[in-house]
Amino acid sequence: MRYLPHTQEDIEEMLAVTGNKSLDDLFNCIPDKLKAKQPMDIPDSLSEWELNAHMEELASLNIACKDYKCFIGGGSYDHYIPAIIPYLISRSEFMTAYTPYQPEVSQGTLQGIYEFQTMITQLLGMDIATASHYDCGTALAEAALIAIGKSRKSNKIAVSSLIHPNHRQIIRTYISPRGYEMVEIPATKEGLTDTSVLEKLDDIAGVLVQSPNFFGNIEDLKSFKTIAVNKKTLFITSFTEALAYGLLKSPGSYGADIVAGEGQSLGISKSFGGPGLGLLASTKKLMRNLPGRLVGKTKDRNGEDGFVLTLATREQHIRREKASSNICSNNGLNAMTAAIFLATIGKTGIREIAQQNHDKAVYLKKALIKIGFKEIYNSPFFNEFVLKVPKGFKDKRDALISKSCIFAGMDLEPFYPDMKDHYLFCATETATKKDMDQLVKEVA
């Protein structure tokens, strides 16, 4: 097998050194009764060419194998990925390297992640960003644990019901074992989190709100900050569409204490939902509470600039049971991808492309309303919006997928049972006028 270099000669020579008669002898230190009773039942090995055929067939069972038009978001977004991104990220020095525990031979990864951390703080208007987490949901759960950990009085957090439903589920998973609680804040008729309900809550360790929220609406983060300050509680925001902050006022500018986000929009393919990129940023004050890896700048013995993993005393390999979290790895290669993407899109590119996302979504929304789809929310939105669909839409939608490879919005009822016939539509810079017009024509 081409990954196993040992020849018969090699094996014989090496067994002579180890003092074993055969390879099986190497396992004599394992008591017989602990050895497997039957061999593994795995198919015989496939050649590279058989593997290609098998995987091509498997991939063809996903409709994504065709060029489909994606008008759904919900936390996973269709964006253009420039050719230089896969080119650069596939450099084996990035891909096959491990965590930079030997910094002298890992300066590529370390400087790259330092640049990532910096650009994320610029995007979000925050002081510190970590070297990344698994996804927004888990980063947000970690933020919730920071808030509860810091609070002397409260084991309870207030969580907007317009945070991505799956993220709220993850938070629940993380807070349940130690009996922490979460209170969900309902939505208003405008499709925004009801701050009046939040005002009435006492004894909360943190306030969590997503903006743009799951419906695509832009929340009034200023009000949330005021409430959080009045209640002396942490103000935590999240987002699923990182490009929104190429256009919108940053969460940092509203005084967010912690921001959790999804970075998949930054040059990472959808890949059936993973791996994505969890972003976590905070104010300087909370630096030592942040979980996960941090890259810091320093100097070597010759006075040359260099980078290292730092503040490891927060982490599991030092503090073990007293660590702020159990996190070991980050999503390193995806963080590097995001760094390359942010450098590529740059200050002017991100503004223009974020603006185009907005332009396209406005166009699509207007066009669908014109043919009888009902506007539900009047609030400002970013690249996603909710509409009530006319009768018969569901069948048309299913036919559209099979016939024309178009995904026209996403049914919200499974997530919000009251919202029958409500669909969440998404249009990014990849949605051409031609495609949007075709969609409108087909569902009219």
Partner: protein, 511 residues
């Protein structure tokens, strides 16, 4: 700006570092050599107003202005040309050492070769372009892959069911702890403690803490493995279970595991297996058959997915039948020839990831398993263990070997023989860089003072192992003949030893 190596120590008796490229004094081939590298400024220092490296799409609809109150200043990202970006990151990559560069014997990390065909498979449009909310009907390829990979991993490890959701080993540990916690909750009596061996990876006690469990440490015996007596002494009905790594972090097989599992089970506890070292025992031992109730695997270790400079990986969890109801949702089920997600699992610990796990990583692991096949995976473990024992036999006596007995896929030395010369494991590790090898894991496990943990993996050839062995021996010679170069090392790398104390004291985490 170009830099070249000017740091070679002229007083080195091992002149060949500069003069005879690739050949050491004793005539063996030494991979590490000098080479021209390039400096690269921080990326924002290359920024020039007006440059843009991305192709702006043509706008074919009307511009639409958002409420001015909501719009912020554009983030202050750099402005670069496409070549600026490419050159920047190519140069950065050249400062890195990856598996493709040279041997990377990090103990407990299983730095085996990352097959390139796996990248081809993950990049197939049907996989990489799939939207997670496409619907089961239009995602049968993905669902079938997830289901089948679960079956393979369950079979390899000897368990009843598997979840592929956890995003990393530590995430899998959390999943395991949450399931144990829920199990006891369902039994009507929650417990407060978890037993954790002194050789455990730091994520073990950290994961236990996340569930509110107190970690009770138990020391390994004189042979480097756990003794049933020590467990029996502390196991009680307030202990939720034990976390065991097998083979353990000393590279030794925990041969008392069944007895230990019995002790724990007898008092109603569960056994969590840290499967990071699965590379040693595929086809030899099935953890699910030796008393372990829940086990996590690291796909980026045993199953060849790339480490990516720190991630993304994946940490699937395998469970016995009794724990199946607690698995995270969603799960994949098969109905005739059709695959579906289900979330209606009343006893689930809940959701762990926004979607279905690190799907792109799962594709790579699946491809690896199919490429190796049954015999291939059996050979992997045999050859991994052969390689580690070979190194152990060749280096023992030169480096101190605290546990002189057959090892599994990794072996642990320490610097006891070099300390009298004021040379530490750290010095020797740094000098290995100059010789063209990534150092082994150092200072872990904590039970060995000055640990030097070598895991060659099965993908390294005998010649490479011999080069590594010769390099270590040459360095040990330098301990006596040229200790100064060991204190200075590394000298051929882009930067020399970095001031980690200053980095922590005055953190500078952004530019």
């Amino acid at each position: 700006m170009m830099t070249q190596d000017s740091n070679a120590d002229p007083s080195s008796t091992d002149k060949p570092i500069l003069s005879t490229p690739g050949l050491s004094k004793s005539g063996f081939r030494k991979p590490g050599t000098k080479g021209l590298k390039f400096n690269e400024p921080l990326i924002w220092n290359k920024s020039r107003k007006g440059r843009c490296a991305i192709s702006i799409p043509r706008l074919d609809v009307q511009r639409s202005e958002l409420d001015k109150d909501l719009i912020g200043e554009p983030p202050d990202l750099p402005e670069l040309s496409e070549l600026d970006v490419v050159r920047h990151f190519v140069r950065l990559s050249q400062w890195n050492f990856g598996i493709d560069s040279g041997m990377y014997p990090l103990g407990s990390c299983t730095m085996k070769y990352n097959p390139k065909t796996n990248e081809v498979q993950a990049a197939r449009q049907g996989f990489s372009g799939a939207h997670p909310f496409s619907g089961d009907k239009f995602s049968q390829g993905a669902l079938k892959l997830i289901y089948t990979l679960e079956q393979y991993l369950a079979n390899i490890t000897g368990f009843h069911a598997v979840t592929l959701q956890p995003a990393a080993g530590a995430h899998g540990e959390l999943a395991g702890m949450l399931m144990i916690h829920k199990y006891h909750e369902k039994k009507g009596k929650q417990r407060s403690k978890i037993i954790i061996p002194d050789t455990a990876h730091g994520t073990n006690p950290a994961s236990a803490s996340l569930c509110g469990y107190e970690s009770i440490k138990v020391n390994s015996g004189p042979k480097g493995i756990l003794e049933p007596k020590a467990i029996a002494e502390i196991m009680d009905e307030d202990t939720a279970g034990i976390m065991i790594t097998n083979p353990n972090t000393l590279g030794l097989f925990e041969s008392n595991i069944q007895k230990i599992a019995d002790i724990v089970h007898q008092k109603g506890g569960l056994v969590y297996g840290d499967g990071a070292n699965m590379n040693a025992i595929m086809g030899v031992v099935k953890p699910g058959q030796i008393g372990i109730d829940v086990l996590h695997l690291n796909l980026h270790k045993t199953f060849s997915t790339p480490h990516g400079g720190g991630g993304p990986g994946a940490g699937p969890v395998a469970v016995v039948k009794a724990l199946e109801p607690f698995l995270p949702i969603p799960r994949v089920i098969k109905k005739l020839d059709n695959y579906e997600f289900i979330s209606d699992c009343p006893d689930t610990i809940g959701r762990l990831q926004t979607f279905y796990g690190h799907f792109g990583i799962l594709v790579r692991a699946y491809s690896y398993i199919l490429s190796m096949g049954q015999k291939g995976l059996e050979d992997v473990s045999k050859l991994a263990v052969l390689n580690a024992n070979y190194i152990k036999e060749k280096l023992k006596g030169h480096l101190n070997l605290p546990y002189d007995q057959p090892c599994m896929h990794e072996c642990v030395f320490n610097d006891k023989l070099q300390r009298p010369y004021n040379i530490t494991t750290m010095d020797m590790a740094k000098r290995l860089l100059d010789y063209g090898f990534h150092p082994p894991t150092v200072y872990f496990p904590l039970v060995v003072d000055g640990a030097f943990m070598v895991e060659p993996t099965e993908t390294e050839s005998k010649e490479t192992l011999d080069e590594f062995i010769d390099a270590v021996k040459a360095i040990i010679e330098e301990v006596k003949t040229n200790p100064d170069i060991l204190h200075k090392a590394p000298v051929l790398t882009k930067v020399t030893r970095l001031d980690e104390v200053a980095a922590a004291r005055k953190p500078c985490l952004r530019g």
